[in-house]
């Protein structure tokens, strides 16, 4: 018997005594505020929660976006900024040293960048999280990992209320990266230190729809 058959047989024998299992009670707060439904209070909450985890958050109107993004990058002293395929041209127009990720940059080229700008798939107000799904404007998973600085642009219409709303809005077949602040560790005396292997600096620009 293969290990597969052996393990399945063991499981069946081990669970033979279990009768019908009632459906899991889902009395917790369900998904409620999906994409495009965020009001001002929810956008404000996302801003506050993302800032709690040491992301620097700016808010602007669509017409100001290119300037705000360029200013944020300049303020970090970053010059060579990776720009992924599908990143809106009107947002990257004023970037001083844009490096197109087209064709995709290899790891060594990514390592030579000062930072990257991307869009995102969904943002969660409750937890201050952004989620990337490697869709247009987001680059590969390595694109937002290897460089030391990441600026993510979030449209207000992408902000959802809580974790259940994000799960409902995402595609489980795509590679997903959930990001809540810059990389961090609590491994030394359980004290949080920001900045380990992922980007040590995370900027978020919220653009009003």
């Amino acid at each position: 018997m293969s290990s597969r058959e052996e393990m399945l047989a063991r499981i069946r024998a081990a669970t033979a005594d279990i009768g019908a299992v009632p459906e899991a009670p889902r009395r917790y707060t369900p998904a409620g505020c999906g994409p495009g439904e965020a009001d001002e209070a929810l956008v404000g909450r996302f801003e506050e929660r993302a800032s709690d985890y040491r992301a620097t958050v700016r808010r602007c109107r669509a017409a100001e976006a290119a300037q705000v993004i360029a200013d944020a990058v300049t303020a970090r002293g970053a010059e060579r900024i990776g720009v992924p395929r599908g990143f809106p041209a009107e947002w990257s127009a004023l970037l001083p040293g844009a490096v197109p990720d087209d064709p995709p940059l290899d790891v060594a080229a990514l390592d030579a960048l000062d930072g990257v700008v991307t869009t995102c798939a969904v943002a969660i107000a409750e937890t201050g999280t952004i989620v990337l799904d490697t869709g247009p404007g987001q680059g590969s998973r390595a694109f937002t990992l290897v460089p030391d600085y990441h600026l993510a642009v979030v449209r207000t219409g992408q902000i959802v209320g809580a974790v259940p709303d994000a799960v409902a809005a995402l595609d489980p077949a795509r590679p997903l990266t959930w990001i809540s602040g810059p990389s961090a560790t609590s491994d030394i005396e359980l004290r949080r230190v920001e900045g380990v292997h992922g980007p040590r600096t995370l900027d978020i620009v919220i653009v009003a729809d």
Binding site: A24, Y28, T29, G181, T185, V196, H197
Partner: protein, 488 residues
């Protein structure tokens, strides 16, 4: 009662067993005042933070109930969900392997790495690979594995063993960590201070070249969605993302109980896990992938290693709900004082005391179910509501049953209990026995309490006093108070 035909985790491989009895190891740990200071400091910090993070969630108890019920459904239909997961992962270009025990899992992983021609792999922190002793097996095959989680790196460089599920180097303070880095890390900056931020920066510099050059990575998994084949790794530092993303080949070793039935179930567990483990609303990074993505080769190794033996015990199987958050360690008065090494297994603390003996069989970890005061704090904080105290009591009875089966003649406890049952089953015998207790008044005359009993009874008074028996038994007093009302 044993669970017939269910093999437990094999001996001689991995790290699930006590090398010395818990009381001996605990006594050693208690003598180490530095260790006790480090642990007390770290566990009190995280306890307060967790309480605040959980208090913020109005529907915490409802999430907890859902989490427990979803996991019970997984356990009840584990065969079906594993087959569904296998089908999904395979359909998305991944390869699924089944490992009945630690030895088979180590062989599979070694074979997969050999096939790539690589001699070096990077690793994401994973309890399953610690449990099976994968690093040792790889070393024996001439393959070098680098741990990339900061705490695991501290443990690896310190030639040490992990002592906590979430923070394996919790027993070390910043000073000791600096010393380890300066001694073992050739590229550590000479003037390295003990500031946590500087220590983290040193680890970043040390590991960066290895990440960028790595061709093979090994990870565990926090969740695997049967419905979609999606795997999830929850982390903080970005070492997980580095390992999961950059290498050409990714090998994930996962205990079979890590499954969730549906994608939607993540809405429960991504709320329960971060707040319970690191006390954050959300951990910095969570990576999810389904099958082989972005041109990678992906292998999933499904590990039994005593899990089906655990599943076979109706009163012990709920231990498999565990999502390895480690909240129970941080609140446990025993863990806080002894630390994780005393438990012998990679799974320490309350959850380890119920999980390790089930994975190995109680005969190989007979002390662990007794390493608890049954205070119940672990049950209260458990995000999937595992009734650890009740399970400890159940496992204590399994230990006793096991001893009876494998020892010739009654144990001293069994003989004493049988004698007591004989005495208590007859009123006259009982009255006589109580009066005989007067003899105990020979002891404790000086302090009014008995501080040292003779012979084998000394074990009882080695850590506590015994009250001196009264001059008169309750029954004699009653008879004197109410003459003629004698019920005895």
């Amino acid at each position: 009662m044993t669970f017939l035909g269910m093999p437990t985790a094999p001996r001689g491989v991995g790290q699930l067993r006590q090398e010395v009895p818990f009381p001996v190891a605990a006594a050693r740990a208690l003598d180490d005042s530095q260790l006790r200071r480090n642990l007390g400091h770290a566990t009190s910090t995280i306890r307060a933070k967790r309480a605040a993070a959980v208090a913020e969630v109005a529907d915490w108890q409802e999430l907890r109930a859902a989490g427990a019920a979803i996991k019970d459904d997984v356990l009840a239909h584990l065969d079906r969900y594993l087959l569904q997961l296998e089908e999904q992962v395979t359909a998305r270009g991944g390869t699924v392997h089944w490992a009945a025990d630690a030895n088979e899992a180590n062989q599979i992983v070694t074979g997969l790495i050999r096939a790539t021609g690589q001699r070096h792999v990077v690793k994401v922190k994973s309890m399953a690979t610690q449990e099976i002793g994968l690093n040792e097996a790889l070393a024996a095959a001439g393959i070098e594995a680098t741990e990339t989680d900061l705490a695991e790196l501290i443990v690896q460089l310190g030639h040490d063993r992990p002592s906590h599920i979430l923070v394996p180097a919790i027993h070390r303070n910043r000073n000791q960590i600096r010393d380890i880095f300066l001694r073992e890390m050739p590229d550590a900056p000479a003037g390295l201070s003990d500031e946590p931020a500087e220590l983290a920066a040193a680890a970043r510099a040390h590991l960066r070249r290895k990440f960028l050059a790595a061709q093979v990575a090994i990870s565990g998994a926090n969740f695997a969605i049967a419905e979609t084949g999606t795997l999830a790794v929850v982390e903080s530092e970005g070492n997980g993302r580095m390992c999961l993303t950059l290498p050409r080949t990714l090998i994930t070793v996962m205990g079979i109980e890590k499954i969730l039935p549906a994608w939607r179930d993540l809405e429960v567990f991504l709320q329960l896990l971060p707040r319970s483990s690191t006390a954050e609303r959300m951990n910095p990074y969570t990576s999810m992938w389904a099958g082989a993505v972005e041109g990678q080769d992906f292998h999933l190794v499904l590990l039994d290693n005593g899990r089906t033996a655990t599943l076979a015990d109706p009163r012990g199987r709920a231990a498999l709900r565990c999502i390895r958050c480690s909240a129970c360690l941080n609140v446990c008065p025993v863990y806080e004082r002894t630390g994780g090494h005393a438990y012998g297994s990679v799974y320490p603390g309350p959850i380890g005391a119920v999980l390790s003996p089930q994975l190995t069989g109680v005969a190989d970890n007979p002390d662990l179910p007794f390493a608890s005061s049954l205070c119940g704090a672990c049950f209260e904080v458990c995000p999937v509501a595992i009734d650890i105290p009740a399970m400890l009591v159940h496992l204590r009875s399994r230990v006793v049953d096991d001893k009876r089966e494998h020892h010739h003649g009654p144990t001293p406890e069994a003989a004493a209990m049988r004698g007591l049952a004989w005495t208590m089953s007859d009123a006259r015998r009982w009255t006589w026995a109580l009066r005989a207790g007067h003899a105990g008044r020979l002891f404790g005359r000086r302090y009014g309490r008995i501080r040292h009993l003779p012979g084998p009874l000394a074990a009882w008074t080695s850590s506590r006093d015994l009250p001196r028996p009264p001059r008169q038994t309750f029954r004699d007093w009653w008879r004197a108070e109410r003459p003629g009302e004698d019920g005895a």
